[in-house]
């Protein structure tokens, strides 16, 4: 490779980091905001290389750099702001110092890589990739958020992206695109949702030589651990290890002890021990109450997702004058095979307790999600 300078590549232009340093605020996505929330990065010795700007909670994002001529704009004490993912409420801002969010991600590499990510740039997963690229002098390719998933994939292929970070849902979509297998991926990073075994296996089969890493992070705590063995869940040693900050409550909720305060932050994620691994079983809330029996919608969804024609799904409660609530399932199909819904009924009957079997199936175009990507399960 003759080009020794890492580049930032977007559909609106391509710049070396030094160009970014002298010509700030290259537009990545949409026009400048009037009143900006600044998400910023400061690597201690290097000139600050990136500024991320999002106006308001989620809409517009910029990436650029300020001139190195003046004072450094950022340092290691600079706070980065993230939005929490409230399932029912509006997200709130959480501040992190750089060291809290930059411990994670990928393996050492000898040759320069080209990273890209499909998660939003201003979320924990997106910002980690930006930091990784800055810290390791790697190329960064950022597709425009207005692109379709197929257009993003084309853009990444043109620029030879070999390290990718995205959510499990996004990887499921990508796996449905034939040209995905042509990406020369060496590193596949998953985050933001629970990765199921079917997805991990499909990724490994498509990219047998790549390293597949599932990062577990929360907005409140930053990245907590990463698992790269292509198995769903995480090894029990992540909890029992001497330096582990993880704790499991009586009801199986995963928590994290804070270094500073010693208090435990409860993540809301439920886990269950299966031999020597903890498996994610759902959230400690959002249960569907069928005649007093609490049904975990994610258990239903994980069964439904085993069908190869299912792209996404959402189990939710619908009101019942008889039992309080019943389970309904919205499902997004990859193709319109008329047999699928009947097959899903059969799979659910076979795999789920009778009360948890969805009685009402709706084929939908997409699953409504809140600003941070959590499924909206409210009954209506």
């Amino acid at each position: 490779m003759t080009d020794t300078t890492p580049r930032l590549v977007t559909p609106r232009g391509s710049w070396t980091i030094s160009e970014l340093q002298t010509d700030p605020f290259h537009l990545v996505d949409s026009p400048p905001p009037s009143d900006s929330l600044v998400l910023d990065s400061g690597k201690s010795e290097e000139v600050v290389s990136a500024i991320l700007v999002a106006d308001g909670p989620i809409s517009r994002v910029y990436l650029g750099a300020k001139s190195a001529g003046g004072e450094p704009l950022f340092n290691s004490n600079t706070l980065w702001y993230f939005l929490t993912s409230g399932t029912t409420s509006k997200p709130k801002q959480v501040a992190h110092e750089l060291r809290g969010i930059s411990r994670s991600l990928s393996s050492e590499s000898v040759e320069r890589s080209t990273w890209s990510f499909l998660t939003d740039i201003y979320r924990m997963a997106g910002i980690q990739v930006v930091l990784e690229c800055l810290g390791r002098n790697e190329n960064l390719v950022i597709p425009d958020s207005s692109m379709s998933i197929a257009e993003k994939l084309d853009f990444m292929r043109i620029h030879s992206v070999d390290k990718l970070s995205a959510t499990p849902s996004q990887y499921r979509q990508l796996l449905g695109l034939r040209s995905f297998a042509e990406l020369p991926l060496r590193q596949i990073t998953l985050g933001g949702e629970i990765a199921d075994q079917r997805l991990l296996t499909a990724l490994k089969e498509t990219f047998p030589d790549s390293k597949i890493t599932h990062v577990y992070a929360t907005t409140e705590t930053g990245p907590l651990f990463a698992v790269s063995d292509c198995l769903a869940g995480f090894p029990v040693t992540k909890v029992t290890g001497i330096r582990s900050k993880l704790v499991i409550s009586d009801v199986g909720e995963l928590g994290v002890k804070s270094d500073a305060t010693g208090e435990t932050h409860w993540t809301g994620d439920l886990v269950a021990l299966n031999q020597d691994r903890y498996m994610f079983t759902g959230r400690n809330s959002g249960f569907i109450n069928v005649g007093g029996a609490k049904i975990n919608p994610q258990e239903i969804e994980s069964v439904v997702m085993t069908h190869e024609n299912v792209l996404d799904c959402c189990a939710r409660a619908i009101p019942s004058s008889v039992l309080g609530e019943l389970v309904s399932l919205d499902v997004v199909l990859l193709n319109d095979d008329p047999q699928t819904l009947n097959q899903l009924r059969a799979i659910c009957r076979e795999k789920l307790p009778r009360l948890a079997v969805p009685r009402f199936f709706n084929e939908v175009k997409e699953i409504p999600k809140n600003e941070t990507g959590k499924k909206l399960r409210a009954s209506f």
Binding site: V290, S320, S321, V322, R349, R354, L355, R359
Partner: protein, 82 residues
């Protein structure tokens, strides 16, 4: 107009969907809870009928009335036609 035909259609469907052996005949004096329908199947039936007919007499009614027989059940629907 009675909802008899619609109600019986939906009952037959719920028996089929729930994998419950249906009674030989759907007569008016059929005891609902002895017909093989349990509370879950019954709840499904009522929600299904709400979707087909557009109303739920168990919600519309203030009286805590629980029809015992198929005849009462159909009559309950006819009475609360909104």
């Amino acid at each position: 107009m009675s909802y008899r035909t619609k109600v019986i259609e939906e009952i037959e469907r719920v028996f089929r969907d729930e994998g419950i052996e249906p009674p030989k005949e759907f007569l008016d004096d059929l005891m609902l809870l002895e017909s093989g329908l349990d509370s879950l199947a019954f709840a499904v039936l009522v929600t299904q009928l709400q979707s087909t007919l557009g109303f739920d007499p168990f919600l519309a009614s203030d009286e805590p009335f629980y029809p015992e027989t198929l005849g009462e059940f159909i009559e309950f629907y006819d009475r609360h036609d909104t």
